[in-house]
Symmetry: C2
Subunit: 222 residues, 2 copies
């Protein structure tokens, strides 16, 4: 069976969990508090971060990028990257947008400051950083709304890793009540469709001690 080392609210980990479930791949989950720098975990991943997937042959696949590509190559029955080089390029452009740009401009400033900094014992959150992240998210939600004005899903006419890469950090930020859904009805509608998928519902059951999500967090009709 596959084993995923993860951290419940980290977007890169949520994304891989969603892929594993959508692909119907039996797997076990192990929470890894990577900031404790556990020796055995460093042997699997010298970079020390999550996600790490252990294959059935105990081969570690390291980083959300490598795992996502590996899963689509190795278990191609349900595809997440599109059907042609151009389609895949569009999916990967958006994956890069959310894993890179969105992560730097929003996730690191809000989720890291508010939640991981406390879990990791890195001191007080910076209210300036949080303010900047909450301002930046509006621009990203505008961009998602712009994509949805001409497409059913972010990269085109069907669900791909682009949607999952966007929904994963949004779900973590929503846990903190930091997504202004009401201002973005088309984005809310798109997210509601993802939210009611069985793969996603399970993930929304996770709780982090000391942080209680808002009431609408698990509600598909939010």
């Amino acid at each position: 069976m596959l084993t995923l080392f993860h951290s419940p609210l980290l977007p890169g980990c949520r994304k891989i969990r969603l892929m594993l479930k959508e692909k119907n791949l039996p797997h076990q989950l192990k929470v890894e508090d990577f900031w404790l720098r556990r020796f055995e975990f460093f042997a699997l991943n010298p970079a020390g971060d999550v996600p790490v997937l252990l294959t059935e042959k105990n081969q570690p696949i390291v980083s959300a990028y490598a795992i996502a590509e590996y899963l689509d190559e190795t278990f191609p029955e349900v595809q997440f990257f599109g059907n042609s080089p151009n389609e895949r390029a569009e999916v990967r452009r958006l994956v890069d947008w959310f894993d890179g740009k969105f992560d730097r401009e929003v996730t690191q400033l809000v989720l890291f400051e508010k939640l991981y900094k406390r879990l990791m014992g890195y001191g007080e959150p910076s209210s300036e950083a949080i303010r900047a992240g909450k301002k930046n998210i509006l621009y990203h939600l505008d961009y998602i709304a712009h994509l949805l004005s001409s497409r059913n899903w972010l990269a085109g006419e069907y669900l791909t890793l682009a949607d999952i890469s966007a929904a994963a950090p949004l779900s973590s930020l929503d846990y903190l009540g930091d997504v202004p859904w009401e201002q973005y009805p088309s984005v809310k509608e798109w997210y509601a469709l993802i939210k009611c998928r069985p793969a996603f519902r399970e993930l929304l059951e996770d709780r982090v001690q000391g942080f209680r999500p808002p009431d609408h967090y698990t509600d598909p009709d939010f």
Copy 2:
């Protein structure tokens, strides 16, 4: 013909230029000063950054991630990702290491502060950030030396995108004289092998106004 919009010292762009040359793909280069936020360029890439590859059909392929995968899929004669899912996972793990971890811990702190900040008119470099980046690079060079202690190339027995993803930022930092080669003889030897490849030599001819590289920068026997 393919067209690459790039910035001469940006590692993500150098990496794609190296791939294009190693794959013998005819292409033209266009320098894009992305911080000027040129309207026509934003139409190609709403994220506003480089590299962007225009295909022969004028389709923009956006981000180093999407371009690298696209080039290997579309022009597979010379492969950069390895021959099996496990090999590709190892290459991608290291690509992620250099594009993500190395970029955050070294490139952003040294190259951005010293060079791009001035080009972009973003004020004075932070000497604290530069000091941190120059300290961090030692740990990364240690890790490269560790890999080379059991392998000919970073991901195994032949040159892959892992080597190119490491050599690209190292070459940009070397332009600034910020790679302590003498302390890492095996890393120096590996870099010398890459440096004497025709694809790499051309790239080392680029100059950025106001910044002069050290004498050893273009010398294959440095």
